[in-house]
């Protein structure tokens, strides 16, 4: 198309086209760049905690006490035995998946649903549970107690 032909098209029409094209391209580029920029900003929670979680502060745990915390998408139990050792177990009962609790009077882990009992290493010792509770590793890091999944070999 020659320049003279182009000039015959009304300037208004040309402006509209330029506006549409320019505006469309710019705004669509913005619509792509905006999410990417937001994506690059690290979220406030740096970890989903699937592998490692701060279960508690050292100061909050006393001998023969326990704390329920979230580990990944399931509840877990942090214990401190009478001798001062930390243990971390899954809090999901292996019988019918109720949430277990620590019983200070028994020094055992108890499931209220059908009276199942586990010892403090997670072994099922009485009642319906067919398998021991899953165990996790516990480290103390500074003033925090960190629970992590056992590493795959």
């Amino acid at each position: 198309m020659g320049l003279s032909e182009a000039a015959r098209i009304q300037p208004a029409r040309r402006r509209l086209v330029e506006l549409l094209l320019g505006g469309g391209v710019l705004s669509s580029i913005a619509a792509f760049v905006y999410p990417v920029l937001r994506y690059l900003i690290p979220p406030p929670v740096p970890d989903l905690g699937g592998d490692e979680v701060v279960a508690s502060k050292v100061a909050d745990m006393k001998p023969s006490s326990s704390k329920v915390f979230r580990f990944g998408t399931r509840p877990a139990l942090l214990l401190m035995t009478a001798e001062g050792e930390y243990r971390a177990l899954s809090a999901v009962c292996t019988h019918l998946s109720c949430t277990v609790q620590y019983r200070n009077d028994l020094h055992q882990v108890w499931c209220a649903c059908h009276n199942g009992l586990y010892d403090l290493t997670g072994r099922n010792v009485s009642g319906p549970p067919p398998r021991p509770l899953e165990t996790f590793q516990v480290h103390v890091r500074g003033d925090e107690i960190v629970v992590s999944r056992k590493r795959e070999a």
């Binding site: 669509s28 792509f32 999410p35 990417v36 937001r38 994506y39 690059l40 900003i41 979220p43 929670v45 970890d47 989903l48 699937g50 592998d51 990944g72 999944r149 590493r151 795959e152």
Partner: protein
């Protein structure tokens, strides 16, 4: 002097810019009824760029390793701002890219663009298709969910059935005898380093060859245009065809965005190597036709194992497929008909077996 021409002058003084882009400015695209098919290659390239882009973004948050992979993808989907968008676009574009790659290949067959002198273009293109499927296979495992784990198990198992070298191939792929975290690490290495490097190389070769030979025209039209050159219609690549390609790319982008927002890619459940395989394990759709074929073959064919026969047949067919252009000049017109027939058969077979594979469960 506008900014645009100013920059051009600056480049020209140093790199003889005008000379360099001269031939590109003269590049034309033949226009005929079937020209729309020319877009497919460009769309595949565009989707590859999308993959590289979203892939790099995903790399900022993804963690390879059986303990963390699934959780990191979950993190991307739920915590990272627009992580769901980047991840879903990556998964959808992967499938779309393989689809357009296949469509591009079949259009090349039916438009007979593989003919001399473009044999190497065909070869490099086929290699790119295999690399794309390798991308798909390796990438599928990376979220480390149940479906992916078992699909990889089955897929590498089949590789292991190849005679003589099968077992070594399987061990190489798996990083061991079984599918484990080592497999994940290995697939990650393939997916983000080995395959991108090879693909970049072959894309350059492929594009270079396409530039060198120009766009192919269907043979009937070609001879007509040779006879009366006045009839030949060409369109300038810059800016006319490029603008149209841009339209196509924009539409593809819109489709991708819609898919990502309305049909987000599933996370699944974390893989447990000790659990039993769930029912209905199957590979991604682009492997389905081969998978279903192997399932249909009876366990024993004469004295040989049915599955091994299937694998060998596919291997041999793939080999012949690579050499397709060289059959074109067999006999008079016979080679051509053979190739068209093979192309038609392959297309129908792939479609039929893929549909059958999904229905027969």
């Amino acid at each position: 002097m506008s900014l645009f021409t100013g920059v051009q002058a600056w480049l020209d003084e140093r790199f003889h810019w005008a000379e360099l882009i001269g031939p590109l400015k003269k590049k034309t695209v033949p226009i005929h009824k079937l020209s729309y098919w020319y877009f497919l290659g460009g769309i595949t390239l565009f989707l590859f760029f999308i993959q590289v882009g979203t892939g790099i973004l995903l790399l900022l948050y993804y963690r390879p390793g059986a303990n963390e992979a699934f959780e990191s993808v979950q993190y991307i989907m739920t915590r990272v701002q627009f992580g769901w968008l980047i991840r879903s676009i990556h998964s959808w574009a992967a499938n779309l890219m393989i689809f357009t790659a296949f469509a591009h290949m079949f259009s090349v067959i039916f438009l007979r663009a593989y003919r001399k002198p473009r044999e190497l273009t065909w070869l490099s293109g086929m290699i790119l298709l295999f690399l794309a499927m390798g991308f798909g296979f390796s990438g599928y495992l990376l979220p480390w969910n149940t479906l992916a784990f078992f699909a990889t198990k089955v897929g590498t198992e089949i590789t292991g059935r190849v005679p003589v070298i099968g077992h070594s191939m399987m061990v190489f792929l798996r990083g061991g005898e079984e599918v484990t975290g080592a497999t994940l690490t290995r697939f990650f290495g393939f997916h983000v380093a080995v395959l991108p490097g090879l693909t970049a190389l072959f894309v350059l070769i492929h594009l270079g060859l396409v530039q060198y030979f120009g766009m192919s025209v269907p043979p009937g039209l070609e001879s007509r245009w040779k006879a009366s050159p006045g009839e030949a219609r060409q369109m300038k690549f810059f800016p006319n065809f490029l603008l149209r390609e841009l339209m196509a790319w924009y539409i593809a982008l819109g489709v991708l965005g819609a898919l990502a927002a309305i049909l987000p890619w599933e996370l699944g459940t974390k893989a447990d190597p000790f659990a039993a395989a769930p029912a209905g394990i199957r590979p991604e759709w682009y492997f389905m036709f081969m998978f279903q074929t192997l399932k249909e073959i009876p366990a024993k064919l004469w004295f040989m194992d049915g599955e091994v026969v299937g694998i060998l047949v596919f291997g041999f067919a793939g080999f012949l497929w690579l050499l397709l252009p060289f059959f074109d000049r067999l006999g008079r017109g016979r080679g051509r008909r053979l190739i068209m027939g093979a192309g038609l058969f392959a297309l129908s077979y792939i479609i039929a077996l893929t549909i059958y594979g999904y229905m027969a469960k």
